[in-house]
């Protein structure tokens, strides 16, 4: 085992960035929701719905980008449902989120089965191909790693910049951040708390769904029931790890994906000395450890989990 060797291989770094992509979308989506004060445990199901939705669009003859847009739309719909329940009615964000997850997962499985009742092997689509960015790609090492990914990976990086810009540089972002800190302060300044939160949850959910779509449209080329496989939950851990900051979320996702890539390489090299199941456990255990490290000083958005009710005394 030559661990140091990995770090010099471009293949390792490329895998790392590729594996980070769905996590980036998911983590950013959850981050936006939580910044506005709404925990979205629907993420796992919304990712499944995006996964299935994007794939279905392309399978039925749509374009790849159309598939992404459709996945985002489906995610936003689930987000709307979540916000009606948690923002307008103020129901438990925990239970509603789990309900959304169940709904998202089961509905996408149902739709998939209804579309293809007889398929024994999941039908394939032609996914996004790596897109070399001219000039930048020729930068040795770094260029190869970063600039010959699929377009969705570029989109993920762009969306980090976008989310960070909106959150910190625009009036909308200021309002969104404040609505997660003290909704009363926002209401007293004449803004609509419900609308802001709904907007955040819908946008965040759309991002989660796009993250799910990456799995079927870029990482693999087919849809399997249960293919999200806990990635959504990992994103929730990563949001805490990132202290609710977009750029730190990027670091968290890359670290995590890097760790995942290492375990896969080690697994290949070490053969069966340690059963593969233990390698597969590592991402989950790593998430838990990350949570333990960061939770002590976690500065939650102050209004997270607390429903806002107009005129309640």
């Amino acid at each position: 085992m030559d661990l140091m060797g990995f770090f010099l291989e471009t293949g390792f770094w490329m895998a790392c960035i590729r594996m980070a992509t769905p996590l980036i979308f998911g983590t950013l989506g959850e981050l936006v929701c939580e910044r506005a004060g709404v925990l979205n445990l629907g993420i796992e199901g919304i990712m499944a719905a995006g996964c299935m939705g994007g794939w279905m669009w392309v399978y039925l003859g749509g374009s790849l980008w159309g598939g992404i847009a459709f996945a985002g739309f489906v995610g936003a719909l689930f987000g709307l449902l979540h916000s009606i329940f948690t923002v307008y009615l103020g129901l438990s964000q925990h239970v509603t989120g789990l309900g959304i997850t169940m709904l998202g997962s089961s509905l996408s499985a149902y739709v998939f089965r209804m579309l293809l009742p007889k398929a024994t092997t999941p039908p394939k689509i032609i996914p996004f191909q790596p897109l070399d960015i001219p000039f930048f790609k020729d930068i040795p090492f770094v260029g190869e790693i970063i600039f010959s990914q699929t377009p969705m990976t570029y989109l993920a990086f762009a969306s980090i910049i976008f989310v960070a810009f909106v959150l910190y540089k625009t009036p909308l972002g200021l309002a969104l951040r404040m609505v997660g800190e003290n909704p009363l302060a926002v209401e007293a300044q004449g803004l609509n708390v419900f609308l802001l939160r709904t907007l955040a949850v819908c946008f965040g959910s759309a991002m989660m769904a796009v993250g799910g779509a990456f799995l079927t449209m870029s990482a693999f080329d087919a849809y399997y029931i249960g293919m999200v496989n806990g990635r959504g939950w990992i994103c929730i851990a990563l949001v805490v790890f990132s202290s609710w900051k977009p750029y730190k979320a990027l670091i968290g996702c890359l670290l995590f994906a890097g760790f995942d890539a290492i375990q896969m390489r080690v697994q290949q090299q070490a053969g069966m000395a340690i059963p593969y199941q233990f390698y597969l456990m590592l991402p989950y255990i790593f998430s838990i450890i990350a949570l333990i490290i960061m939770s002590r000083k976690a500065a939650y958005p102050k209004a997270l989990l607390i429903p806002f009710r107009k005129g309640e005394r």
Binding site: P171, E181, N182, A188, Q189, G190, A299, K302, G311
Partner: protein, 519 residues
């Protein structure tokens, strides 16, 4: 002070009516405001002042009636519309995001949300201009939670001025201020009026009305019962109008204090970041005595209360009850030793809202006989006790099975009193016991505390309301930055001087003086 005359009313409320359940919080209220006028909206707690202003500002929607600003009808239920029309409100509980900067708090909502750029520079310029013009200085980059209460209020006022409000509503603005800070607030108000703004301030303090308003309107039980130019009326007339006739305030009867029941010796409490929350604090409380602790909130009151309740334990120094040392013990032990606690956060800490009246009454003493036996609850005993206490303490509830969440604030407080005082505690710790209560409930609480002192308990009242302390306390001391001043006899202490100690302008004359250089 005479208001400008000959002007059209810039604000007109007509026929405002608002019910909460069956209770009319506002009943057909009409009044108007003129340019450059300061109107005091006067009334006891629960008279409907805040509800009225919340309707004006759009937090609530009135059942009937309408609001006109500059002769235009204001759409109901929209703070945004009120702000656009030039109405600004400073809430009693500040609506600030504590973890964010002053500038952020002021800027939020002032630009269109579709704007691509926060115009921070322009905002800062405008803000510093405003601060200069009205003599309100705050560091715009400071994080709100690091500011003092007075500064936070300045931020609130700046928020309103930043939006070019023409009408400023201040809800109980002096409730949390020292007398000196209040004076400077009234100077600011005078400045604003000179600049052409109109001000409505809500209060129940007559002194302030006489000093700072042109006109006063008194509300009682949701109705306007009195209206007059301030120069044409007297404090006595106002007091009469506020109180009605049926409520008699309890009067302090001086007891001869007995032996020491509670003593704190050299208590110091440090938070996680090394900041001192309580510093070398000494305090003694005797039987038959009511000791009042004054101070602006956030100076260590809640820590002191938590400490005596047994909720914090990482302090140094000694806590003694009847000369028995009880340093670092649990809340349960403190209860057992005879400490009755009335917390400041009634809804969150004092009661368990989802549980019934009966269960709340049992929630402190359920652990042993007669309410339980070997880990099994005895419902008949609990119900009997609950029925008895509900009757004795006049808790108005449909049944003892009603969830406490559905009770009014006054009844919740009575329930807490029932729970905490029924065991005849030797020490009563009352933290802001009448906060937000109406007159009736306030006088009930005071009566109970006075009665308990008469029967031999030592009572410690922590309050931000100096009037309350002057009304019930035998001795008064001040807490400032976690230090306690020497208690003074309530009959001999001077309000202005207390105010100066409260704002730290003169050092507290106490044993703490020696360590002044330490921090």
């Amino acid at each position: 002070m005479a208001p400008f005359t000959m002007t059209e009313p810039i604000l007109k409320l007509s026929g405002i009516t608002k019910y909460f359940g069956a209770v009319a919080a506002n009943d057909n209220i009409c009044f108007s405001l003129e340019k450059g006028e300061v109107v005091a909206l006067l009334g006891e707690n629960g008279a409907g002042k805040t509800t009225l202003m919340s309707i004006l500002f759009g937090h609530y929607v009135a059942d009937r009636g309408e609001v006109e600003v500059f002769e235009k009808k204001l759409p109901p239920g929209s703070p945004r519309a009120a702000l656009t029309a030039g109405v600004g409100m400073v809430h009693q509980h500040f609506t600030l995001a504590e973890n964010m900067s002053v500038l952020d708090n002021i800027m939020v909502g002032t630009q269109s949300l579709t704007c691509l750029k926060s115009k921070k520079k322009t905002a800062k310029k405008k803000l510093s201009h405003l601060m200069e013009r009205f003599g309100l200085s705050v560091n715009p980059n400071a994080i709100v939670k690091d500011l003092s209460v007075g500064e936070q209020q300045r931020v609130e006022i700046l928020k309103v001025l930043y939006r070019d409000a023409k009408i400023l509503i201040l809800d109980e603005p002096t409730a949390v201020l020292t007398p000196q800070e209040s004076d400077s607030l009234f100077a600011t108000i005078a400045q604003l009026v000179k600049d052409g703004l109109s001000v409505i301030f809500i209060t129940h303090k007559l002194r302030e009305v006489m000093a700072a308003s042109h006109r006063c309107i008194v509300l009682r039980q949701g109705r306007v019962v009195f209206e007059s130019k301030t120069c044409d009326t007297t404090p006595n007339a106002l007091a009469k109008a506020m109180m009605g006739s049926d409520i008699v305030r309890p009067l302090r009867q001086r007891q001869i204090p007995g032996k020491e029941v509670l003593s704190l010796e050299d208590i110091t409490l440090v938070d996680g970041k090394g900041k001192k929350l309580l510093t070398n604090l000494n305090l003694t409380l005797r039987t038959n005595e009511i000791l009042g602790i004054a101070g602006v909130s956030g100076n260590g009151q809640s820590q002191l209360a938590d400490l005596i309740s047994g909720l914090v334990s990482n302090y140094t120094g000694k806590l003694k009850l009847d000369s028995k040392e009880l340093t670092h013990v649990s809340p349960r032990r403190m209860i057992k030793e005879g400490v009755g606690r009335i917390p400041d956060d009634r809804n969150g800490t004092g009661i368990i809202g989802d549980m019934s009246v009966m269960e709340n009454i049992a929630s402190v003493t359920y652990g042993g006989p007669p309410l339980s036996n070997k880990g099994l609850l005895r419902f008949s005993a609990i119900a009997t006790l609950a029925k008895k206490l509900v009757k004795k303490f006049d808790v108005r509830c449909p049944s003892i099975n009603t969830p406490v969440r559905n009770l009014s604030g006054g009844n919740m407080q009575k329930l807490i009193l029932a729970r905490e005082l029924s065991g005849s505690p030797r020490i009563i710790l009352a933290n802001q016991p009448t906060w937000g209560l109406d007159v009736g409930a306030t006088s009930y609480v005071h009566t109970q505390l006075l009665a308990a002192a008469k029967q031999g308990a030592g009572v410690l009242i922590i309050s931000e309301d100096l009037d309350e302390l002057f009304q019930v306390a035998d001795r008064i001391c001040v807490i400032f930055h976690g230090r306690l001043s020497d208690p003074k006899d309530a009959n001999q202490v001077d309000r202005a001087k207390l105010g100066l100690i409260m704002s730290g302008q003169i050092a507290s004359h106490g044993r703490v003086n020696g360590e002044k250089n330490e921090t």
